[in-house]
Subunit: 323 residues, 2 copies
Amino acid sequence: MGKLRIRHLLVAGGAGFVGSAFVRDRLRADPEILITVLDALRRPGAEADLDDVRDDRRFKLVRGDVCDRAVVHPLAAKVDASINFASEEFTGSGAADGPALARTDIEGTVVLLEAARKFQHQRFLLVSSGEVYGPLKSAANREEDRLAPKSLPASARAAAETLAGAYQASYGVPVVITRAATAYGPRQPVNQLVASLIASALNGQAVVIEGNGSATRDYLHVDDQVAAIARVLWKGEPGTAYNIGDGVQISGSELADTILDACGKPSSLKRLTRKGPGWSYGVDPRRMRPLGWDPLVRFPDGIRLTVDWYQKNQTWWRLRDVA
Amino acid sequence: MGKLRIRHLLVAGGAGFVGSAFVRDRLRADPEILITVLDALRRPGAEADLDDVRDDRRFKLVRGDVCDRAVVHPLAAKVDASINFASEEFTGSGAADGPALARTDIEGTVVLLEAARKFQHQRFLLVSSGEVYGPLKSAANREEDRLAPKSLPASARAAAETLAGAYQASYGVPVVITRAATAYGPRQPVNQLVASLIASALNGQAVVIEGNGSATRDYLHVDDQVAAIARVLWKGEPGTAYNIGDGVQISGSELADTILDACGKPSSLKRLTRKGPGWSYGVDPRRMRPLGWDPLVRFPDGIRLTVDWYQKNQTWWRLRDVA
């Protein structure tokens, strides 16, 4: 694709939910790719989740801290491009830890940017989130919109984007950024939004939606998300952010209904916590079209496929349920 | 002033140029204030620069890292408000160190925000910079303008602002922010913009201005800046940023001429490095008016007063010249 020659990729945070799906997809799609994953492996079960690719000679897993230059630089020296999935957002089970987010999400990004600059990487892809725009005001957010994050994890991602922009402006590091809709799919840890609801439904417990159920989000199957990330890495324009989503707004109430239906559970298990609509989020993905990407998995089908996976892999997620 | 009762202040980075001026001003202006300074004291001579207030029983200096919760929390537990001057921008003599900026400026801010939240500070003031807006497009920047920092230090400050906004939105921490014009005045280390030119002029060396000399900035005497910061701390509206500047744009060429004239040196010592206008910066300070603040020191007078100080205190700055 284009003039890039990316044969060896450094994937920071590549043992996480989306990161490991990206690694798996690339190894499957590209016979000549070499992938080095750097991951702190703090999420329970993270290491085991890469067992299926461990014997692939094109793949290497390094356990380490993304803020540690002594670890990052020798790895970065050998690759053509780097991509950063590393985030503190989902490593714990509780409330956001501000200083930990600042370290992993922001300082980690800067250490990787520094390495990308030093070793002249052809691309640096920062995986961000559609939540950096803050709650939806009217239409779905375009990339030019002002970033106005409300939550601490979204603020950390926005801050990492700001620093990446400075590395592009000051040193010409070829940065591309993805801002994705909420991901779901097989192997999502059950402390994350969609998987937690599926686990509750399969357990016959209440499926709890915050607010009155009318707030909407767009959801994207992890397979579609990682395909989009690959497109942006190989075909994206340096200095550009790309929204990734399917452009379909789903209310919290609809999400709960779809999950309960797919699990064969009664809709009476749906619980709405309180009055008020809550915050909606949505990104407009039209900038992805010229890159040749369109989402393939439609929302209700994706949920059904995902529920199937959780039904067949109960051991996987019950062992990893740290909540 | 108002309903605030701030008797004890934690001043992070209070041994720096602007921070120490703020501390000195408050001790002079407010007989009942208690001030605890937390500073890593990495700048050469930083500790000695607080010698004149060391014996004041209302003042305490703690050497420590602003990212270290074990240091910050016991200090934050005893105060009513906190203010963060700590930045990596001027601690070294060379190029910006991205990871160090991320740690000190961003993670440091978050650790302090976390403490301000835990110990219910009445105010958290983040000292930011007018450079967060990025280079001037047309009129001087207003606070509502989009932040588009180009340099690494300005990006770190913008990122710290983003996180402060999240602590306000998520946890109600009463954050106020100042975005100041370029500071100058007595005791400015000679690796910083204005002082470095004064030192060159006094040494009879070339006064070097980057670009063709036409790019402008607004400059503000440190006494005016710290008076404005105090106003914002006591009278500012939580959740609000305040531009601090005198609204007068000075070109690089004019800056060099003013300094050379004040030093009694020939204008032939002025050097312009290269073609092109370079970047201009400017903030519109009108939001400060209702807080009862106006700058008192006019630019050429301020430069003359400052040059006087550097002429009389040669030992001070020659000992601290790490460039």
